[in-house]
Symmetry: D4
Subunit: 228 residues, 8 copies
């Protein structure tokens, strides 16, 4: 039985089709396979965003490969080249606590890769409400907002009631016991009393960035078209 047919069939056309180029989720992939993918990602015609790429896994690549990449440890992301910057639009990324940082920065780095401006606002848990309200105006001035929060995820509801901008909420796996690895935060966000929040899978900072990018891309397209 020949295992060589078992390759990775990347969806290179995705960037052209939906504006979000192929990304590779690295967790659970072997060193050999990752190396092969890192080599492919250097091809300018088909850039790749690597997510969940641990420092250990990245370190196992040869020095020349590593040098070609922009690697960011906290967010565990890497890319060799980013898309051209969008003309308009920026995204605010707001978190409840510093434990949400890995998710926050996965979103920030994905947006950076997609050519979209982003600002990060950390540690705004609603038990200290003043931390959020003092930054509200800046946060709400963006064209889309990403909220990363674990535990009770109350930040999503409070912020959702204070701004009409498109909102994407990422539950994080922060906490213990009945935090249930983020499931409680997820449910809180889904049943939020604030209307119109789009919810992502637990810890999926990448997905939230893609959702925000769909909005920013639409906006750029509309402005361009409108200019005609």
């Amino acid at each position: 039985m020949d295992e060589s047919v078992q390759g990775v069939l990347l969806d290179y056309s995705r960037g052209a089709r939906i504006g979000l180029p192929e990304a590779v989720f690295c967790e659970g992939k072997s060193a050999g396979r990752l190396l092969s993918l890192l080599e492919r990602g250097l091809n300018k015609e088909s850039p790749i965003l690597f997510t969940r790429l641990s420092a250990e896994a990245f370190a196992s690549a040869p020095e020349n490969i590593r040098a070609a990449y922009d690697y960011h440890e906290l967010s565990r992301t890497a890319f060799a080249e980013r898309l051209p910057p969008k003309k308009i639009g920026s995204v605010s990324i707001v978190s409840a606590g510093s434990a949400d940082a890995a998710v926050v920065w996965e979103a920030a780095r994905t947006l950076e890769y997609l050519g979209i401006a982003a600002n990060v606002y950390e540690d705004n848990g609603v038990a200290g409400l003043w931390r959020l309200t003092s930054k509200l105006e800046a946060i709400a001035s963006a064209e889309a907002i990403i909220i990363a929060a674990g535990l009770d995820a109350a930040l999503a509801s409070v912020l959702g009631g204070l701004t009409g901008k498109p909102l994407f909420a990422v539950p994080t796996s922060t906490g213990y016991g009945m935090a249930k690895g983020g499931e409680s935060a997820l449910c809180s966000m889904l049943v939020s009393c604030a209307p119109g929040i789009g919810v992502m899978n637990i810890d999926n900072g990448y997905g939230a960035a893609c959702a925000a990018a769909r909005v920013i891309n639409l906006l750029n397209h509309a402005i361009e078209t409108d200019g005609k």
Copy 2:
């Protein structure tokens, strides 16, 4: 086989032992049994609080029994006599939405029965934050606070970060889908980022009132003792 041994063995000594007299949970009890209990509850030596007593069930009792009771439909509670009023202490009962009303009033009525002053503040969901902040001072002036909220239950975290008073939170079964009959609100309250909130079973307004009463009773006892 003789079924007559199957009686209800009320714990009449509970009032003396822990300051919270016997209560009867009426759901699922037959009309015959309820009538017999309503008759026993008229004995001044051993008052009974009836909870989850539906209007239909209460209506099936004879007129003279009904007349002897103070029945409250929204909270589904009844009692014939209440405990003497406590010297000091009051409880604020705060809810997120009007759908929590049955729970709110079950707590209010239980406190009334126990001789404890209570004030009700409804419809303070954090998606409209101004509704809470405008009443905060009044709410926080009480000696204990009960919070009833369903869905994301974000109210508990926001309020818990704004006051140092003893707090008891009751998740309510409001909502649909991932509200899971109140389980999501329960989890949000248990993992709240605000410290020191005691959580009750879903829809258990009675239990929250008893928890608050333990605090008010302690306070009254301390003041009395201190006065000596």
Copy 3:
């Protein structure tokens, strides 16, 4: 104890604050309370959208009140007045099967209320893939897309891979057994292999419409601002 303080504290300022006026979820509210709310909803300054308003509940209102409302049975929605139509932008609402109709139309009616154009495309389950592909161009021409699907919710992944427009997915409670009242569809959507889909609570057509409206409102605002 005075129950009269127990009123409904509507968040009338929400429309101004976030562009989505107050909505009332009618399930579980008493006839008396619904009538009082239907009366308030006739005030032009503070319009209200009624959701989950059953035909039976609506029928219990007096004729003159009913006549003032636009009631839609399948979606169980009512409103007396809708917001002025937005200048640009439309929303495609796509469903997997005819069992998703109530959710589809709740979204459609909410958009109508918010002054946003919407087109409905039903019965596109991927087991008959041709049903979707034949309509793809029309669906993807809108500025935002709502997907309502139950069971395996595979439609969200297929469509998410075919368009770059903002996507909001509503799992529906269609099916039996391991469909688990929509929880399986919800999970499928959250872990979709297509990137950037914002997911709503089960059966929450209203929420999906609000999420789409946040995008359309942003777009209108951007175009207006850009025009200056």
Copy 4:
């Protein structure tokens, strides 16, 4: 993209606002971040309680920092300075088995930090009922009682029926199989047949201590006020 904005925004005003100063949950924080927080915690104006601080993590701090702290290994807590002792009130901390010790001592240490007297009574599982009854009088003489129990958590119900003092119950993650990491104990406590028990998240000894502190703080305030 500048990561330096990603700091920890401590809620230093919490102590003044609600009487429970900021605490830092250490699990999952990097050594660098912990060290920086340990340095901040030496500032007398803004004391910090460290919880879930493992011996390994604490050992990685420099000797002079470690020397400034009172570290307690079993409870994994550290603080440099404690609040002034409260004038009145003490807390009993009662556990079902010796496996609950880490939770018991997290509560005890938190109370010590908050200036509140506490007594610990371990190993009172109700399968050997004499162990509890022989100590009941001492346990119930405190102003608030914390119960830590895993498995069936039957201790909460038995004790809740024997005393009228404020009770806060912490389910512990003791056991295997259907103990479900403490979820079964949590449910037992929430549905306890004893009225008025406030329940905390699994293993949350810190939270139970804060809940008890809310009661003791109230009592001290009341006595002070009353003395005027």
Copy 5:
């Protein structure tokens, strides 16, 4: 397609094989099928115990059939003939609250049918511990003990630590919210700190009686054999 092959294939030989004759669970069976089974149950060679037979369902049988049966409404059981009484052994059936009565009496009636003596002790919830301790000697004098309890099911652990007799515990579906239809009581019993309790399915009073009967039957067999 011929449906007539669809009969009920009773396991008449079970009584001879394991000492527990065939029983029919009536819930969900059509009136026609129940009638046919009630007719078969009158055959002395193959007695049948009917469980979960509602008063309505029984009432739909013809008068002459009903007259031949001993029907018991609270337990929803019926049988025409019982097995000969066992020479030795009796079973104590102990419950936590009056809401467990249907389960208690299903067990009691099953034992009656199997020719085994049983005594019922209701309403011994451990929140009023004196109710149990005052009857302990009588309860523990039996050869096997059945415990029916819902909610926290703490009764099983307390009693299990006080007697060495074979114990079979039935969780009941009493309560609401996190009682989860008896699942919390089930888990409490399974992880009880008292050793050697055999647990049954929720509300399965019939099963508990069969488990106790296996013990009593063994005892009778041993005594008989020993006498030889």
Copy 6:
């Protein structure tokens, strides 16, 4: 704060009270505490059974302590002295697969410690039905039967329909995926179509042995009493 009050309060009187002497569950206990307990267990007046005692943990005890104990690695049990052998009665321990061996031998060793004869029959999964039927007569000749099975746990139902002896079933955590760590086996046993099976917590071989011991102890007591 003095930690020395934190001792282990063993229930030494349990052996006299219920015939099952104290046992110590070793998982999660520190080396120091285990050593102290192993020393106490050498006191003949108060024997202790150690369960879940890993080879590593046992090896850390000094040689003279280890020499005084009968340690059994597969079952992870140790005891210094066993109870005197019972006059009559033996227990069959039957398993579905060789993966259940640790549970099987925990039960066997507990019975050995309690002075009760036991025979082990492994690898009788019903997918190869002949393995069970060929040993049925020997298995069923015992006075009590313990069944250890994971996965579908079908062995419990098949055996429960073939013998009238007291049966105690232990679900094991064998398997992966929807075996859910033994929860599926547990549910299968609880809803078994064979009547009167007492079910234990997942992997609780110790508990099953105690349940069987309650039956054997009763039998010995009955025979002795009968002889008088």
Copy 7:
């Protein structure tokens, strides 16, 4: 907004594409919609199988429509015309108890509609093993076997170890408590110790029949091709 676009888009080409013509799941469909579908189903070019069609719903159709259909109440199925009979192959449908009858007959009727021979064997629960073994030869002589069982679903494992024929198992929602509406049976089947059983959704007799039909259709195609 025009609701008329909301039609049902039947996948008429499915029969040609995969050999299994369109089926309509009737639960939750309105009377009007069902009638319209029943009318379409009379078209010989595009036959429809109706499943979960209650007697009440069918009765609401006009007499002439009803007369054109073969309706079967127990299975809640209807069809006007069946596919031509297959040349070879038959299916055995085996159930554990008479409570599984609705599922059994839904499968039987679906096969009848598809032109495939089927034989039904009910009431073979393994607690009475002789009921299965006595019919084994007949059951195993078919080309595919469907097993419908609830509760512990042990029948699937026993039968799966006795025959090498393609096996499709349908868990049924029989039972109460930890039967969890069929989820326990589902898990038992998925983790069965017998290899190669394909499992269907709970109560999905229709799906099991389709799975068996895929096998029978393949066989007929192979034989035909082979004959050439």
Copy 8:
């Protein structure tokens, strides 16, 4: 107590009985036991397939044993001898992503062992639909199809609607958060809108191969018989 009776009772007759010879699941087995089983597997009369045999575990066997085996690391399978090739029939194994490779190759290797031809088609996730459609004809030309997919498992529904061949779907434990270790993929497959898909336990590539083998074996038997 003699542990030597604790052997492994292999079901050697299974191959003859159902055409699928004994397989050994290696996870959790000790090195000693695995070695003994690897020795037995060299007996030509009773071949054994080893699954979940890690490279480490295999490496611990002596060189001469290892040399006698065909070991495959990715699939963690080993066998010494395979069954004679079947005359007709092949199986397509289709996966959604490269993370499913271990499951895919466990299925492929099991089929190889059973003498059945198999072709592997990896990386056909429906978010890039063209990857599947371009290979559809080849995939559907086989006599049975195995689908391995995690996350939303939408591939099963899309493929199930495009071919009438027997389909067996294996959910994989790919993903994080609400992928729930494969449970979401499992549910999606069970409630798939495509009819007649037989579902296996999570990650059970071995089981899917056995299910497909039951079909191929049937086909070979039918053709042989037909030829007579």
